[in-house]
């Protein structure tokens, strides 16, 4: 894939906490048109990567969006450059309605003075995002009473209205039903047509169905990279997973999950 203005290029990213190396020189890139998955066992550094890219924790190395270096910038400035993210636990503003949530997300490029005015009418981008995520009927619902899946979609919708070029999604289908997962996956596919989508996920089934490319992290380093099939057949990946957990119990849990 070629590097475009909407491409996220991470080079030799390192994150340390008090001498503990959480991410030790990770490089990967993601481009518009693909749904890139970031997987790995617990503690592999997946979320930490996203945190560093979005300015939540301090990292060294380089993470570029188009020509812009992201590392070292304050979080809100990184967002303004076009990098949006979600969190493991759905975080929407419970006291505000779906519309208000989206309106806030859509407003980051508004002038400060216009903030002092009340909202009149609905931004067309919000309508589009609502349709895209199937939340049109929940316009006036307080976000706090949405279902878990709906909250996750609202978060994605918020990224859409803020017109993020790069969407970093941290476990977007955790806790969702199978139908909801399928819907989410299809949504991501549509979104990825024009944007870069990077998903951190544990759900292998979900990954197999919707990933364009996969990067496997292990102990803060890239273990393997490629298509779903390539990664699954990589012996190093198999070894890591075999070596880190006792097979029978894991299998049981795995079946339950299926």
């Amino acid at each position: 894939m070629t590097v475009t203005d909407g491409s996220l290029v991470v080079t030799d990213l390192r994150v340390e906490f008090d001498g503990f190396v959480a991410v030790g020189g990770v490089s990967f890139d993601a481009h518009p048109g693909e749904v890139r998955f970031l997987i790995g066992p617990n503690g592999a550094g997946k979320t930490t990567c996203i945190d560093a890219i979005t300015g939540l924790s301090k990292g060294s190395g380089s993470a570029r969006l188009g020509g812009q270096e992201l590392l070292g910038k304050p979080a809100h400035k990184i967002v303004r450059l076009g990098v949006g993210r979600t969190f493991q636990t759905a975080s929407v503003f419970d006291e505000l309605t779906v519309l208000q949530n989206l309106d806030i997300a859509a407003g980051l490029h508004r002038s400060s003075l216009s903030l002092l005015r009340a909202r009149r009418g609905v931004d067309p981008a919000i309508h589009r995002a609502l349709e895209e995520t199937g939340l049109s009927r929940e316009l006036a619902t307080p976000a706090g009473i949405l279902s878990h899946g709906q909250k996750q979609w609202l978060e994605i919708a918020m990224l859409l209205v803020q017109d993020a070029k790069v969407l970093l999604l941290d476990e977007p289908v955790a806790g969702m039903s199978l139908d909801e997962r399928t819907a989410t996956g299809e949504l991501l596919g549509r979104v990825a047509a024009t944007r870069t989508v990077l998903v951190v996920e544990h759900d292998m089934d979900f990954m197999r169905r919707f990933a364009s490319r996969v990067t496997v992290l292990h102990q803060g380093k890239v273990l393997s990279e490629g298509s779903v099939a390539e990664v699954q057949s990589d012996p190093r990946v198999q070894e890591v997973y075999l070596g880190t957990a006792a097979a029978p119990s894991v299998m049981t849990i795995g079946r339950e999950d299926d």
Binding site: V79, L96, I104, L116, Y241, G254
Partner: protein, 370 residues
């Protein structure tokens, strides 16, 4: 207007304006007009606290600082006006009759400068303080304690700088208010009306801020500051605006307090005064529009009437109010009104379908093995 509901607050403000500006002056005696004026001042400060604390989540325990800025600006002006041109205030004569007026007093001879100082001093101080605190992400209890400490520090500072500020006995005995004789009943009424009108204006400002996008953003920041950051806003700036607006309101409150009450001392800006300002807001309802103002007025009235008939009882009642309201009505009495009439819509965070997301779901290994 197809839908009346969004305009209800405005109608409420209108009714309050009518009561304060038209009904009260024709019904109440001068004594109660004066008292009401004092309550209005506390209410103005409370409206600001409601914005910063109720909607912005910043528990401002040091509003005395800004109250003091406005009050002392006004009091210095009125002291100089009472002393007359080229004369020193009495308390200064006492310490050194020949020394000139301290430099920072001189500009307060000007009417215009005084008015500007009342509005701009809190903006400057709150901006610097807020910028520093919010940028370094001081919040919650830290913020509350630090602001309270600053209020104490300012009160101690004023108490100990006697020739410069009048010390603990403060500034009092004002004769004139921008040329008006303060002992005249007509002028007292005028001062009251100004305070009441300013309260109405402050309510309008908070109403407009509340219905604006900024208001939504402020609540969003209160509930999930980090999330707001990842929507591309700097929460520090959002909080700063609310903090500065609250500071200006406290300053206006202080400035009007001086001609109405006739004395300002460091005690009015110290720890317990700052906490008492919070009391009304908590009682009325921190996040509502009218709650803080009405709560502050209720506390003021309680102090005037109950404090007279049963002084120690009033302290116990005040203490119990703090406890019971916080315990049972964290959103204040206004939430009770809302619950009863349904006028105030208050979403409950009760997810309809909650599937708790397990910390760690299906381990990857099984998938690979297949």
């Amino acid at each position: 207007m197809k839908n009346l509901k969004p305009w209800l607050p405005l109608i409420g403000i209108g009714v309050l304006a009518l009561v304060l500006l038209a009904v009260a002056p024709s019904v109440l005696s001068m004594h109660w007009i004066n008292n009401l004026g004092k309550y209005c001042c506390w209410a103005i400060a409370a409206v600001g606290i409601g914005l910063a604390w109720g909607r912005g989540g910043m528990l401002v325990m040091g509003q005395g600082v800004f109250f003091g800025l406005g009050a002392y600006s006004m009091a210095m002006h009125l002291t100089l006006e009472s002393a007359g041109p080229d004369s020193l205030p009495i308390f200064m004569i006492l310490y050194d009759p020949l020394a000139p007026l301290p430099a920072f007093w001189e500009p307060f001879r000007s009417d215009l400068f005084t008015l500007l100082a009342i509005l701009l001093l809190p903006v400057i101080v709150a901006s610097i303080l807020g910028y520093a605190l919010f940028k370094s992400r001081v919040k919650g209890a830290y913020f509350a304690i630090l602001t309270q400490a600053l209020a104490v520090a300012l009160a101690v500072l004023i108490s100990s700088t006697i020739r410069e500020t009048g010390g603990d006995t403060g500034l009092s005995d004002f004769k004139y208010f921008f040329g008006f004789v303060l002992s005249d009943d007509g002028n007292k009424l005028m001062v009251y009306l100004i305070a009441a009108a300013l309260l109405v204006v402050c309510l309008l400002v908070v109403w407009q801020l509340g219905r604006s996008r900024f208001g939504e953003l402020l609540i969003a920041t209160r509930d999930a500051e980090e999330r707001v950051r990842f929507l591309g806003y700097d929460p520090a700036n959002i909080k700063l605006v609310a903090f500065v607006v609250a500071a200006v309101m406290a300053s206006i409150a202080g400035a009007m307090f001086v001609p109405i009450v006739g004395i300002i001392t460091p005690q009015e800006i110290g720890a317990s005064a700052s906490i008492l300002m919070i009391a009304g807001v908590a009682l009325g309802g921190r996040a509502s529009l009218f709650g803080p103002a009405l709560g502050a007025m209720a506390i003021g009235w309680g102090q005037s009437s109950l404090g007279s008939s049963w002084p120690s009882g009033w302290i116990y009642i005040l203490g119990l109010l703090f406890i019971l309201v916080t315990l049972f009505l964290p959103m204040g009495l206004s939430s009770l009104v809302g619950k009863v009439t349904g006028l105030v819509w208050r979403p409950r965070a009760t997810p309809t379908a909650t599937t708790p997301a397990p910390e760690f779901t299906a381990p990857e290994f099984t998938e690979v093995k297949k």
